[in-house]
């Protein structure tokens, strides 16, 4: 057993979704003897690209620094029997979780199948070096648990450790390169890079979702076609609004000289009180539009279905109140779909 341990030294990692302080201490002593002295802390781990690494699925056998700290990653033998035993206890690697071994019996039972996952662990080294990031990590880890859990049930592959060592760079935390390999996922550099890219894309989609009104209904974070459609609609709507406003301004232009100071005063007001501007438009728009648009360049109105102008005005009213975050988002998509049909 000990020669096995020293020879192969894969690292072993499994998914945990809950913390159960377990009294598994009695089995520890068996395996304690099998673990080589110094844990490996270098080399073979990645840290997540954008978000902080979810210190999720670490299954560790705890050594002497068992009670207090977060764990150094021990090295597991490739012996199946030992791993089965080892699967009976698992420890969270994040700082806020108790270092006690926790066990998810379902996970362990699923792990007792033939294949053994060997995935790179995040080294203790990393976590200690980024201690302010740890608290963030724990928050993000909680947020990511559900996603992780889904991933964990996926198939497991076994990979050689050397490949990971080769593909990894230095052990320090560059802001760019490192990606955590989660449980149940492939660990070659291609899929890691792809996963990083996907995380990036998902993060930005989430940002866009927050930006566009009417996207928060679907609670999915992923880039579904609906979200993209909403984004496209919103951009188109804003561009149309700009055109419409420029048309009106072009009509107003020769008569009145523009007052820059008043404009800037209004802008600074709006920065103080955002709702102020929101109140204005809905009351003024319908009257002003109906009056001036009839007087304006008839060339534009000829080509348009007369109903369209009203729809536009309604739509813009809704848009304005949307922009001041007053009205429910449902109407926006309704009106934009109306406009789409008109077009």
């Amino acid at each position: 057993m000990e020669p096995n341990v020293e020879a192969v030294q894969p690292q072993f990692r499994s998914g945990i979704s809950g913390t159960k302080p377990g009294g598994m201490g009695f089995v520890f002593d068996d395996i304690h003897g099998l673990i080589p002295g110094p844990p490996e802390t270098d080399g073979t781990s990645f840290t997540a690209l954008l978000e902080l690494p979810p210190p999720q699925a670490v299954e560790l056998l705890v050594k002497e620094d068992f009670p207090a700290k977060s764990m150094p990653p021990p090295i597991f033998p490739s012996n199946i029997a030992l791993i089965d035993r080892a699967s009976m206890f698992s420890v969270f690697a994040s700082a806020d979780n108790p270092p006690e071994s926790t066990n998810i019996l379902s996970v362990s039972s699923s792990m007792k199948t033939d294949s053994v996952k060997q995935e790179p662990l995040e080294s203790e080294h990393h976590r200690n070096s980024s201690s302010p990031a740890v608290s963030n990590q724990s928050l993000k880890s909680i947020k990511r648990k559900e996603r992780e859990k889904k991933v964990k049930e996926s198939s497991k592959k076994s990979k050689k450790l050397e490949a990971n060592e080769a593909s990894d760079g230095s052990g320090e935390q560059l802001p760019y390169v490192h990606v955590r390999a989660r449980r149940g996922q492939a660990t070659d550099s291609h899929s890691l890079a792809e996963r990083a890219r996907r995380e990036k894309i998902n993060a930005r989609m989430k940002l866009l979702q927050d930006l566009v009104p009417g996207c928060n209904k679907s609670l999915q974070i992923s880039g579904t076609a609906m979200v993209l459609d909403e984004i496209i609609n919103h951009v188109q709507a804003l561009q149309r609004q700009v055109e419409f406003l420029s048309m009106r301004l072009a009509a107003v232009n020769p008569r009145i000289d523009f007052n820059l100071d008043a404009l800037l005063a209004v802008e600074s007001e709006s920065s103080i009180d955002n709702s102020y501007l929101g109140m204005f438009p809905p009351s003024i728009w319908p009257e002003g539009q109906l009056n001036s648009s009839r007087q304006q360049q008839p060339w534009l109105l000829d080509g348009l279905h007369p109903g369209r102008v009203d729809d536009t005005s309604n739509f813009i009213t809704q848009e304005n109140s949307l922009l001041s975050y007053d009205s429910p988002p449902n109407s926006a998509s309704l009106h934009s779909s109306q406009l789409k049909m008109e077009l």
Binding site: L228, L245, S246, N253, E267
Partner: protein, 128 residues
Amino acid sequence: MNIQPPNSSSIKSRFAVKFVQAMKRLSKRRGMGDRYKRYRATRAAARVSLAAAVGPERAWSRAVLRRIKKRRGLIGRTTTNPRRNLRGLVPGGKGMDYCSLLSETAHYITCLQAQVQVMQDMLHLSSP
């Protein structure tokens, strides 16, 4: 993440200054009667002023300014071209990878919103 989200009020004030200047210049030009040309020129001025207010930081503003310098099909982008594609909507969106396209879109949306607010204020001020 990479670059900070835009400060809406600063963009608004910068855009307001540039746009008002452009409109004053426009009103002084002779060739503009009460015509279609003025509408197109106003639209062009709005787009250019926004891009100039944002500056060369973002890819989409760089793309707009590039298009001006090359004087190519400047604002001949058909009014609300029926492109159901994000790449066709965001300026400079064709040559970007997807990630940066998404971040550019986010910035572009905030700038468009700022632009709309400023122009609405201009309208309200001029003809209350």
